[in-house]
């Protein structure tokens, strides 16, 4: 709720600012873009910036599918970005010819979700795995085994998210089942694993994770790298498990929806956010990793102070599942919680 409030307050601030030359409507994850940078952009270019926030990729996709959303910039995750390109609901704005493209780290250019890199410029990436309360659990955390097949003190003290996406992905990593598998037998194995884990699970919830973990109500929670980092910085005894099977990855990118009313301002904003200096400031604000080149000695979350953001295990990015594969995921989840 706080996030909505902040976003609304922010939107209101800009809504009441003096008559500006142009407008820019951004639709992004709640509190994902630095308000200071938005204000700077707004002042420098005399553009009135409105920010709305969404809380799931599905919400964003639905809104863009409906057409004429009025947004100039959106920030989908990689697997939804692919769908948007395939469905033709985002603009080819020649991103690969922009200066911003030169500022993307080489290893993050031209990924499978946008091979030509004409539709998007990345803004942040991160991982999901399990986070433990180190006051309560002193055991090993180098494998998903301790999370999905808990023994001893973790029994009954485990929490998962309330929706299947990343949780099923992690279970697939552990079992060696490929993401978006359409193989019934493989997905049955995923279900069996989660069913066997269920008696040890206290709660399936995506709300209130920080306090549940900090208070010791649960000892291990499925969570995001950046959130875990922020909790640790505010004094919670938490640690992101570096599981040898890998972590589930996501990467959010700026895209321009088809028919965006302020196309030029959108490109200007993406260029603005992608300069070395601003990308660094944005990374410090968001507490996630940046796929952009940044000024190393201005980065607050370094390898030493924020190991969460520099995993030494492989990152596997969530894929765009076919309807058949998605049905298997939904079926596993419904049978688990039936």
């Amino acid at each position: 709720m706080k996030k909505y409030f902040a976003a609304t307050a922010l939107a209101l601030c800009f809504a009441t600012s003096a008559q500006a030359a142009g407008e820019l409507n951004i639709y992004a994850w709640a509190e994902s873009i630095s308000p200071a940078l938005i204000e700077k952009f707004s002042k420098e270019n005399d553009v009135k910036v409105n920010v709305d926030s969404f809380t799931s990729n599905e919400d964003l996709l639905t809104k863009l599918q409906a057409g004429s959303s009025g947004y100039d910039i959106a920030t989908p995750s990689q697997h939804f970005l692919r769908v948007m390109i395939d469905q033709g609901i985002i603009e080819n704005f020649g991103a690969s010819k922009l200066k911003a493209y030169e500022n993307i780290e080489e290893k993050w250019r031209n990924q499978w979700w946008d091979e030509t890199q004409d539709y998007s410029i990345p803004l942040a990436y991160g991982t999901a795995g399990f986070v433990v309360n180190t006051d309560q659990y002193k055991g090993a955390t180098d494998s998903f085994k301790y999370f999905f097949e808990p023994e001893g003190e973790l029994k009954g003290k485990i929490a998962l998210l309330s929706y299947p996406d990343e949780v099923i992905g992690a279970a697939q990593l552990y079992l060696g089942v490929p993401f978006c598998s359409e193989d019934q037998a493989e997905m049955k194995k995923v279900l069996d694993l989660l069913m066997a884990q269920k008696p040890s699970v206290a709660v399936y919830s995506s709300d209130n994770i920080a306090s549940r973990l900090a208070s010791g109500e649960v000892s291990a929670h499925f969570w995001w790298d950046g959130d875990s980092l922020r909790a640790r910085k505010t004094g919670s005894p938490v640690k992101l498990a570096m599981t040898k099977e890998g972590l589930v990855g996501w990467m959010d990118s700026y895209v321009i929806p088809k028919g965006a009313p302020n196309h030029d301002n959108a490109v200007k904003f993406i260029e603005f956010m992608s300069t070395l200096e601003n990308a660094t400031e944005q990374m410090n604000f968001y507490s996630h990793s940046s796929p952009m080149k940044v000024i190393e000695d201005k980065v607050e979350n370094t390898k030493e102070t924020a190991p969460e953001l520099y995993p030494d295990v492989p990152i596997t990015f969530s894929r765009t599942c076919s309807a058949a594969a998605q049905d298997l995921v939904t079926r596993v989840w419904t049978q688990l919680l039936q």
């Binding site: 996709l61 208070s215 109500e217 998605q326 939904t330």
Partner: protein
């Protein structure tokens, strides 16, 4: 009988009938009619239409007639690849009805004595008490549920209190059906107390005295006099509590720990990550149909009671 009454229905003969747009009440009621039409009736038709549409691969739907959404409630492809009877959705539907029913019953049990007590107070105190009953509505529902999490959760108010009394430390009452039910009863209680209070307040005290004069004991008086006379309030309260309880998402997720799905979260999953809108719409229509049956049954029973001499 007078002449004019014989000529009924009079409306047909009233000549010449004014065109309806000359009628002030037409314009007066127009805003509410439009609001009802666009905000209540139209969305239901849209949901009904989506429930028989064909799903899109990435959410959404296409306008091709398809009953897959409904057949999926009962039959699905099993893990062996064959179409088989799947009881899981019926289980979820049944559990939801059980939870809503239990909430309604517990609310009734608590609300009747409370309403009776309030109705027997002097007028000034009565107003204050009714105001106090509505007080929780001033706070957002999610905050009320969070308050219960603080009371029942680890190191919460209740576990700490029990610890003081010598019970073992570290107890938690969260994440089970009891916790869900507690929060649901709490959030729904004012909805039950108010209509019950309204009908009990109108209860004529002399009728109770009359019952006692006719050698009716307390039980008989309650059963034969008080309950029949306050039934409309009880039924109204039960409907107000039962119907929203069917769609509850917040309490089962936050208090119950989301370990067992309810219909609300099932529908949410289908429209969200499940990307199967027609199925989600079909479940919603099924829920609506079941509620409708429940309401019709209640209305019929109430009607029969009125006819009875």
């Amino acid at each position: 009988m007078t002449d004019s009454a014989l000529h009924a229905p009079a409306g047909l003969e009233r000549a010449p009938r004014a065109r309806f747009w000359h009628d002030l009440s037409f314009w007066g009621l127009l805003p509410s009619r439009l609001l009802m039409g666009f905000a209540l009736i139209l969305p239901i038709f849209i949901i009904a239409a989506v429930s028989v549409a064909t799903r899109g691969a990435y959410g959404g739907f296409t306008w091709d007639f398809n009953l897959a959404g409904y057949s999926q409630i009962l039959f699905n492809e099993g893990w062996t690849g064959e179409l088989e009877f799947t009881p899981q959705y019926l289980l979820i539907i049944g559990r939801t009805f059980l939870l809503a029913g239990a909430t309604t019953l517990i609310c009734l049990l608590f609300a009747v004595p409370v309403a009776y007590f309030i109705s027997r107070q002097p007028a000034s105190r009565k107003a204050v008490l009714v105001y106090l009953v509505t007080l929780p509505f001033w706070v957002s529902m999610i905050l009320r549920v969070y308050a219960w999490m603080i009371i029942l959760g680890k190191d919460g108010t209740l576990p700490s209190l029990l610890e003081q009394l010598g019970f073992p430390a570290g107890m938690s009452f969260m994440f089970n059906d009891g916790a869900t039910l507690t929060a649901m009863v709490y959030t729904a209680m004012p909805l039950m107390v108010l209509p019950v209070f309204a009908s009990i307040e109108k209860l004529d005290g002399t009728l109770i005295e009359a019952s006692h004069d006719l050698y009716g004991d307390r039980w008989v008086t309650l059963r034969r006099v008080i309950l029949p006379l306050t039934a409309p309030g009880l039924v109204a309260g039960a409907i107000l509590v039962f119907v929203p309880a069917l769609g509850a998402v917040l309490e089962p997720t936050l208090m119950g720990g989301g370990k067992q799905m309810m219909m609300g979260s099932l529908i949410q999953l289908q429209f969200g990550g499940g990307r199967n809108w027609p199925f989600g719409a079909a479940i919603a229509m099924t829920l609506m149909a079941l509620v409708m049956l429940f309401l019709i049954a209640t209305a019929l029973r109430a009607a029969r009671r009125e006819v009875r001499p």
